[in-house]
Amino acid sequence: MIQKKICMVGMFATGKTSLVQKFVYSKFSEKYHSTVGVKIDRKQVEVEGTTVNLLLWDLAGKDEFQDVPASYLRGSGGLFYVVDGTRRETLEQLYALHEMAHETVGDVPTTVALNKKDLTDQWLLRTDDYDTLSDHGLHALGTSAKTGEGVEEAFLWLAAATIKS
């Protein structure tokens, strides 16, 4: 069986833990818990006839007190970035995180979850944001950890990309 380490990376409170919880346990909690260090979960998936054991490293989000330590990213087979679609700054700061991660792990498959899509009235991302992501070579997908929209698709897309790389 193939094993792939996937790191969940993003600013604080973008919904990284909620996406993992939804994907692995089909659960969603409205209560916010700040992740400290790294929380690790596993999920086995079938992609294109191959069984892949995903090791999901849910990293504490970057905030004023802490950066994302490069040491956690080493050995990643894929990076799962998470942006909060209701906070534009989480997208703007993603590019710096991507640059740091790229320096550490090189060219590994990445996807960007534009999360909290259920909050349509607070959504702040525009069409040109999607174009900019594409210009950076980043695959992006709208997700909602609350409703489950796009969650499975995002993880499976990344899993498939990791076995092709």
């Binding site: 094993q3 400290v36 690790i40 007190f65 330590p69 490069a70 040491s71 956690y72």
Partner: protein, 284 residues
Amino acid sequence: MTDDSDRFKLKGSIDAYGMSHVGKVREVNEDHFFLAAATKALTVQQTNLDNVHAFDHLKQSEAHLFVVADGVGSIGGGRLASGTAVQALGTYIGRTMGCYYSFDVEGENEFLENLENAVQHAHKTVQREYSSHGKGPATTLTMVALIWPRAYIIHVGDSRAYYLRKGRLRQLTRDQTMGELMIDEGIMKEEQVERSSLGSTLSSAIGAEILPSVGLIDLEWNDVMLLCTDGLTRHVGDDGIAEILQRTPNAKTACEQLVDAALEGGGRDNVTVVVGKMNSAENG
């Protein structure tokens, strides 16, 4: 950023100490703790290799294991459960742990799986030993395996792991209680849980149903690690814990003062603490 070449090079020392007290109310101490260190060293005795320093990184490779467990059950049953779990865990790890010179993704995952298997082994041992007791005793179990600078945390129940960095105390584990579950599911609010007994009813425990939580953190010199049972946290708040961990010169004194604070706060439960101070060599 932690560079791989620094891995396993101890530029300081780890001062660890544990203490357990029955408290002021209970007759039996149902808590247990366990501290262990495993050392691997390759000492070159003689060679004609040009680069004798090629093996320097193998000179000192230490793994530290910190465990606390808080038994629950009928009188005396909790003590048996926590003791059995800690003993089974220590034995399993002592027999199987060893590959910690270098980690690639596969190696690190294998190591983590090994720690999880040790917890499962402890769980099955408690179930097997006390299956004749009907709804047998159970226990919390919080374990940290520290291979500098990385601390791997496996957690079942409501004992806790914390770390203190630059005066800021952070909780590394989340209590696995029915109360937390109810809040997460949106069934109850925090105030409702506080008024009920669900806040102390375990949703995951060794010997009963378990869903171990796995995590890690890279430590820095001068960080302090704390593992404790709820006999401490029900009487001493985060600020009090942080203040004691910061002001005490060594792990033993920190343990003594934490236990004293819990007793002064009422000592209604058994109290167990394990403290690991990451002492930088630069601080003398």
